[in-house]
Each structure stands twice: as C-alpha cells, then as structure tokens.
Subunit: 327 residues, 4 copies
C-alpha cells in the first residue's frame, strides 16, 4: 500500500527502507534535503514540503507516519498535517509521545474526522533487519486498515521458540505487533516497555560493577579475583536465566572495550522512564526498581549533588568530620 513518512532519521529512514523492501510505496519528507534525496535514490518518492507529501498520496484514506522527537515538533507536525488532510485519513505517531498527549490529540482530530493512531516502536538501529516490535493504539478500523504496514515492519514469527500454549496460525503478537487498545494504549505499553528496559539495564550495570570491583586493587589481595567480564557475559548467553538481548549487547561491548573506556558514564534518560514512574504513582503501584534505575541516570549526570554536600555538612556539624575527595 501507500504511506507518507515524515522524519527520516535513524528510525524513520530505516522504517521507510523496510517498507519499500516489502513493496510498499513511500512518500517521504524531512527538513534536511540530503536526507530525503538519499531515500529518493533508494526508491522513495521525496516531497519537499508537508503539502506536497500529502498531495503525493493517491490512495484514500491517506495515511502518514510521523517519526519525530516527542514534544513540540511532533505536536506541530501532527497539527499541520491534520489541516492538510480530510475526514477518514490517518495520522500515525510512531515516535515516543506521552500517552496522555495521544488521548488529547485523538480527541481533537476526531472532531475533523481524522483518525489518529499511536504506535510505540521498538527496535533501534537494528530494526531494518531485525524488524520493529510495535504496540499500537487507536480505533480498530484504522489499525486494521494499516495491517499491511504493521505486517511488513514487524519481525514476523522468526526462529523464536513458540510459547507453550500458542497454537494454530501465528497471532499478530507472535508476529511482533499488537493492537493494544484505544488511543494512547500503544504508547502506554511502549512506555512501560522502556521502564522495564531501564530496570533490566540497571540490574546488569550493578551486577557487572560488583564483578569488576572484585578485580580492584583497592581490595586486599586475598579477596581479589581476576574476572574476565566479557567471557562472563558470553557464558551467560547460553543456558542461563539472564539470557537476553541486553546481555548480548553487553557481551559485544565488553569484548570490544573491556574497561568501557569509550564511554563517559554520563547516561541520558528519555520521557518514557519518567512517565513510567508517574504512571506507577497515579496507580499507587510500588515501582522501586524502575524508579531507582531512573534516579541512577539522573545521578550519573552530576559530579556531586547538593544533597551529598548537605550530608557532609551535617556530618561536620555533629561529628567534626571535614570531608574531602579521596586523593
């Protein structure tokens, strides 16, 4: 089928490529000329404005996938698109929007008859070949209309062992996408996915930190080991309980750069990790590990917190300890 795509960065560009590989016609736009021209060379129909992109879509209802950073730019683009489209047309927000924004936008656009679909898209730089895992929210008919798109982008059943109890024709979920529910549900599920991802990452981070510190010259010699972290990551990849894609990535990173000297340790977080905690709080669900994972990233971006200085100040107050950095 035919799809418009806006935003041709790492994600949007490869989504376009994967769709074209499956025979879909893509009309694409990006503010960077060279980016859209590169895709044109690969077979996309490049438009140099939103107007031309919408005009270039021949099939009705028209469908446009917006793949931009969450926030103002997505909001503005959705609104501009909506002004160019007509009742029945579909706008897909495939980025990382906050699900409450989806709820609002879907309602606003429905006044004009435009159908808004939110799609949480996981897969990163590997998606082109590995496929994208998609969690989709919105009106049933619109989501079903786009099935050829989801189907082309999804990983498919692949060689993953079938879950015990799953039988017959593989379901959408087994092929790598789900219609999670009404508007917002797609991004809500993707948000929780990322929250879990933070927790799993932090579990590995802490575990490897304890392993590595066991090699440290700060420990008395009798307590010290000489553990090979990349071999440990590798051995866990087969037959252990912590087998996972994040472990695969860790094994590759530790093999290439055992001391991880290429990384500063300054770790960004994105909206989903934060919103996950806010959702937990709204629902009164304890989420200690997910919160701690987020806070570890906040902490990683500061040299010293004001709070730590206050700890020192109190210690000085009651005990006369004057604390200076270790030499």
């Amino acid at each position: 089928m035919e799809l418009g795509l806006i935003g041709l960065g790492n994600m949007g560009g490869n989504i376009t490529r994967r769709l074209m590989r499956a025979g879909h016609r893509c009309v694409v736009f990006d503010t960077k000329t060279e980016t859209r021209e590169a895709l044109a060379k690969e077979g996309a129909s490049a438009a140099d404005s939103l107007e031309r992109l919408v005009a270039g879509l021949k099939q009705k209802p028209r469908a446009v996938w917006v793949m931009l950073p969450a926030g103002k730019i997505t909001e503005d683009t959705v609104n501009r698109l909506a002004a160019l489209m007509e009742a029945g047309d579909i706008i897909i927000d495939g980025g990382n929007s906050y699900y409450k924004d989806d709820l609002r936008r879907a309602k606003e656009l429905s006044a004009k008859g435009i159908r808004y679909v939110d799609c949480g898209t996981s897969g990163g730089v590997w998606g082109l070949d590995r496929g994208y895992c998609m969690m989709i929210g919105g009106e049933k008919a619109a989501v079903e209309h786009l099935d050829p798109i989801w189907s082309a982008l999804a990983p498919g059943i692949g060689d993953v062992a079938r879950t015990l109890g799953r039988e017959g024709e593989p379901s959408q979920a087994e092929r790598g996408y789900i219609h999670a529910g009404p508007s917002g549900a797609g991004h809500f599920v993707k948000m929780i996915h990322n929250g879990i991802e933070y927790g799993m990452m932090q579990a590995f981070a802490e575990g490897f930190d304890i392993l590595r510190q066991k090699n440290s010259k700060e420990l008395p010699e009798a307590e010290r080991m000489d553990l090979n972290l990349s071999d440990i990551a590798e051995v866990w990849r087969r037959g252990s309980v912590v087998t996972s894609w994040l472990l695969d990535l860790s094994a590759a990173a530790l093999l290439k750069d055992p001391a991880l000297e290429g990384f500063s340790g300054f770790v960004q977080d994105s909206g989903e990790g934060r919103w996950t905690i806010e959702a937990a709080i709204e629902e009164a669900v304890p989420a200690e590990v997910l919160a701690a994972s987020l806070f570890a990233r906040f902490r990683s971006r500061q040299e010293h917190t004001f709070g730590e200085k206050l700890l020192s100040a109190m210690r000085f107050g009651f005990g006369g300890h004057l604390e200076r950095p270790k030499k």
Copy 2:
C-alpha cells in the same frame, strides 16, 4: 570419562542423565533409595553409601560432583568424601555454596592434596535439554582435567547469534562454561548472576504490575484501559529491547493463567541474592536495584511489617489519623 555424583534431585538427576547421554560413566548416590535406583535403571551405577561410591570409581584421579543444598549438608558431605579420597582426587561442589565457604574448603582440602572445584550451575529444570551454563572456580589443572564433563553438560554453541568480534574456534564461554578463576570464583560469578536475575525479574514484575493496574476498576473510567498482558509479553519477544528468557517464561505464564491466580505472591529468596548485596557492600558498590529486588521478596512474605505499623502510629501521633485496612 567417569564421575561420581551425590544428590540426585531435580538438578543432580538431570545432570547425571545428560552426562550419560554423552557417554560418560556415572556412579551415583542419594539418601533416597528409589531415587538412585531410578537412575540405575537409566544406566547409572548406583552406590548405597559414600564409601561404595568412592570405591566404585576406577579412574584416577577420582572426581565426585556434590549437588546438594548449600550449607551444612554440603559441608558435611564434602568432608566425609575428602576422608575417603586421596591426594589428586577432585571434589566438585556444583550447588549454590557461598564463595567464602569455597575459599575455606579449598584451603582445608589442599592440606590433604585433594582438589576442590566450585561450579555455579544455571539451567534449572530446563538444563537436561537446554544444557547447563557453568561458572567454574579452582586450580587450572583440575578444571582442565574435567573438560569432558563441562563440555557434555554445557549447552554448546547452539543457534545463538555469535557476538560481534568473536572469531575462529568457539571458546569455552561460547559453548557455555568458563573457568572463572581460582577457588570461589565460580560461585562468586554465579552469585552475581542470580543477583542480576533478581533485578531483571523485579523489573518485569513492576512493569506488568503497572500495566495490569491500568485495567483496574479502581481507576476512573476515562483513565482505564483493557490491556491484554499475555499478548504484550508475547509481542515483546520479537524485536524489542526487553527480549529475554525471563520474558519468554512470563509470556507462557500469562497465557496460561492471565491473572496468575495459581500463585500466592509469596516469594522466596535464596542465599545468592543476599550475598550479592553483601558483596556490593564489601566493595562499596551502589546496588540499589539488586537490593530493592531482594527487599521486595522479603516484603512479599509478610502481611504487614512492624515498620508499617510504626508509620501508622506516627501518623496517628501527629495528625490523629487512625488507619484501618481498606474495606
């Protein structure tokens, strides 16, 4: 080759089976007669005492694998075995001993010339077919002597994608076992594996809890969704960042019993989770997520903590709030 095995429960029994499948000769002992006889029918040579087990081993140096619960029973068995063995013989502790016990035992046994090998063994009930992931500590020559054993028990390279940068003949780590270091190193690495496992499990637990609570009738209707948790687990199995064996198990459990009514929520912990935190503290490594995961299990086993009652008592003290359970 030939191996003695003591303790023929879920783990020990299947380890014996997997070794026999590979052509090794197993002399086995268990305090339960029927257990050892069952394995005898499958081809093992059953001994009805430790003495007869040791006597039944013909190859020198003799090697005996102890697969018993950590603590007193392992300690006693190792000591009784050592008394029956001679210089050069090898005792393998394949259970979940504390690595500091390994250090002590290895030293004690070395006085008699007996070689002690600690092996952290992951794989659970799936190990017979999936293979066991093994992390091994001890003297190099002893570990190398046992290579046919490790090799038979390990999963082997299988169909797991090779880590970028790994080349040539697959290493031991790629085949599912490593010689992690001197005595204690095997169980130390296994301990951290389990610590990470706790953290990953808790990340999934919290995430699915937030998803499920989103369906709750306690939420205002406009905020409520109707999320299908088993489909969500299933869709994440392909192409997402949280792909993992623990997710596979979650998907199967949620498919079979979507409300998990077959489980009480009373969650045990084992020594490894606790020792991981103690290791973190000894090394001064922050391990927030791993600790929180352990504490969540402690909390799961109590109806109300005394600490929570004290919170209520303080609230009553300053605010006159008298707290009772929600009806």
Copy 3:
C-alpha cells in the same frame, strides 16, 4: 484583625481558636451546622453560607482562609468566594493544594484583582498549643498585610536553641513562618517538607523493624535479643543524633502499645508525597529515599501485588518452585 475561615475540621477549627486567643475576630463557615455553632459558642461569628461569611467581614481588604481538602472542594470554594469578593481582597488556601494549582488560580484570580495566597501549614492536632509552622507564597503586599495572622498562628521563637549565626531581632523564620516566594512557593516548600517527613518516618520504621525482628523467635536462640523498643526510643531522645519530634511520637506510641497492635499497618499517603517525586523527576534530582518511602506505603495497602505473583510464576517457570504462603 479580621479573618474569614472556611472549613472548621481539626485544622481549621483550631486555627480559629488560636486566632481568637490572640484577639482576632473570626467569621467562620462550615457545611456542618453543629461545627460552626460550636465555634460560635467559643466566640466566633458564625455564618451559614459563603455569602453571609463574606458579607460579615467589615474590614477592607477582606481576607478569607480556606481550610479544606485539596482538590475539587477547595477549587470550587475558591471560585465561589472569588465571585463574592472584590479587587484587593485576599483568599488564603491554607490546605494542601498542589502548587501548580496555586499558580493557575493566582493567575485566574488576578484578572479580577483578587489576591491569592498559598500557605502550607504544618502542625497537625498539636498546632493549637504548639503553633503552626507556615510556608507562604504570593504577592508581597498581601502576605505582609496578613502579618498579624501569621504571627498569631506561628509557634514563635519559643525555647528552641537559636541557630548559630542568627542574631538581633528574631526573623519571621525563627518565629515559625516564612514568605517563601511567589504564588505556589508556599505549597511547594510544604510539599517538600512532607516528602522529607515520609523519608524520616520510613527510616524510623525500618530501624525499629530490624530491632524488633532481633527479638523474633524465628531467629536461632544465640542470635536473639530481648530489646525493649520503647526504652530505646526514649533513650535516643536525649543526646543522640536522631533526636526529633517523630522520635518523640514513636517513643510515646511504643510505650503505650509496645507491639503496636492497635495499628493495622495499612498506611495512607497524600498528594504531597507523590508530588515530591514528580518534582524530583521534573528537576532530574535523584530522590531514592523519598520515592522508596512512598512505595512502601503503596505496598502496605496490598495483600500481594500482581508483580509478586509474576515473580513466583517466573520462578516456577525456570526452577519448578511452586510458592505458597508460609504456614
């Protein structure tokens, strides 16, 4: 001076009393007839509607203190009051509103010339005699106009030792109230106060839990102690680092009911604890302890979480452990 007061519960009633003790004239309203009549007998001028309350205020600008639960009822009351008042008049929200609601309300009311003051009020059931600690936000002139009110309600300098470096005439802060900043600042500071309160309470809760468990018959006899918790709380009240009002309250509670059997352990939380975490997240400040304190309260209100059942389900999946409650 003269003040209208709306909401005569535990807090509002005693605030009225403390103001009348200081010679201020109070015009009061509560939806419960008997509540307002009780205060009328103590000298207040009771009004049976918001209209009569406003009409009963003779001094211009008029000032009315709203002391109602945060949320819709406060919002509605402020709006109804504003409709009855005129430019220059002052509405004080002394409850526990979210500071972002203050920002919005102050802006809305300023269109009409009405001045909105937010006042975070700490003191609970003890405030009548001990005084109220107040954190105030709003326009400088309005806050200054109300100084006789703040001054009467505040604890005053009392017999608390003066902070080293504070000299001369005691400041407002030393007398127990501050003009914290513009609209919202009062409730923002009070919100953080409560966040810290949660953390301190949880620190005591955990500490006393560890002390009490040391007496438990579940421990081997050689490890068990027979600690007297009320004496421990009492001894810490003098000369220790943890001396605090919360400790005073704990000492009284543990003396009266050493096993705290009068409390269920079901612990409520209020908006401030939640908003504190949201503020931390907005500012990217790690707030591990404050978040953990909030989550402990969430957890206290459930028998078992769905997440814990999922932990059990995963353990069953990989290890065949079937977990049931301890008998």
Copy 4:
C-alpha cells in the same frame, strides 16, 4: 568512682572531661604524649603505658574504657588489657565495634573472668556539654556497678518534654542511657541508631536538593523559584513535623554557607551503616531506605561507575546513542 580511659581523641578526651567534672577520678592513656599530658593538666592521672594505666587503678574491680576506632586497634588493646587485668575487672568498649565482635570477645574474656561491656556512644563533638546517649550491653552486675559512670556521662532528663505515660522517678532511658541487653546489645542498638541516622540524613539531603534545584537556571523561567534554603530550614525548626537535631545542624550549615561550597560532597560511611543492612538481610527485613542511603554515599565517592558506562554501552548498542558529558 575511678575509671581508666584509653584513646583520648575527640570522643575519649571529652568523655574524660565530663567524668572529671562529675568528680570521678580518671587514669588515662593515649599513644600521643601531648594528648595525655593535656588531660593531665586538666586533672587526669596520665599513664604512659597500658601497664601503668592498669597499675594506676586502685579500686577493685578495676574498670577501663577503651575509646578507639573499631577493628584491629580495639581488638589488640582489649586483648592486651585483659592480659593485665584479673577476674572481676571490667573492660568497656565505648567505640563503634561490630556487635558480633562483642559476642566473641565477651565469651573469650569470660574464660578469664573478665567482664566485657559494650557501649554504643552517641553525641559526637557536642557530648561534653550536651551529654552522651549510651546504649549498653553486657552482664547485669557489671553494668550496674558502672552506674555512676553512665549517670555522669548521660545528658540527664534535661528540658526535653516528658513522654506521655512516663511517670514517677525518671528511668535510666529518660536520663539518656539504657542497659539494652546481653553482650552485643549495646552496639547492636547503636548500629541501628546510625542506620536510621543515615536514612534521616538522606531524606533531608534529597528534599533540600529538590528545593535548591527549583532555583536552577536550567529550569524554564516560569517554573523557577528563588527559595531561601536557610530560612526554610529555620522555619521548619518550630512546629513542623520534621523538627530534629539534624535539621538544626542543616539550618546552621545553610545559614553559614548557603551553597555549601565548603563541602566536596564526597561522603564517607562507617561500619554501622553497612552492618545495619547486613542485619536487615539476616532477619529478612526490608530496609529499602536505609540501604539507599548507604548506596548514595558509595556513589558520592566515585566520578562515574563502571555500571553507568555499561548503561551507555548498551544504549549505544541498541540505539546508537554515544553519550558524552554535558558541557
């Protein structure tokens, strides 16, 4: 009465002074000549060796207070003292020993008839004037024999309001010391005191951090406030729920140095905070806040953890994010 004292640092020196003020005879030793001579000028009887100190004690049973850092130096001193003393004599360890060391030492010394008393001593640099809060473990007769010492060192009933329900002659607890239980109980209770102290400190640290960050130029101007932290600390000292000595110290620190520029934020921890978590783990008590407080200190002493670098490495692996410090 008469007491020997070993270790005349901040704590030991002032303990000697407070005892002399109460009329007790002190025989003192410190490895630093000038330290012991300074106390001799204030009236103590200085000995230049442990032997002379023991010989200088005339009253039987002799009693010696050891006030040295926990660990080897305390252990060695206690053993050397024991060799110089005789059955019935008393050794007090007033430092911060691990309570399991007390249990062992008490048992070892009892073979010789020497009585070992463990005393957890809180008070820091303020103890000389404010008195010391003491938690004491050991044999009843020995603890009672030393009552004049405890009584002189303790703060006494002072002007702290009496706990509701406490009547008649003030108990020891109300005067600032308790006989907590058998050997080890004193240091166990002191250990938990410090654990709670860490939690309370961290609660203040996080709360003030959120307050301060609200002033940050990194926030959009509309969200920014200009909060005066020292006034906030001051106002909470009267009538609020977080009133505490740690708040008093924070108020003084923030008044003197509002940005706390005199402190690096590099925060030490001591054995008690760590042992508290180990005790919680032994007892299976969830202690999330106390653990998080300890980990925050570990984290404060590192620029970046290896774990954080691994987070970055994983993010690079799945998303191509290359993370560098913020400029």
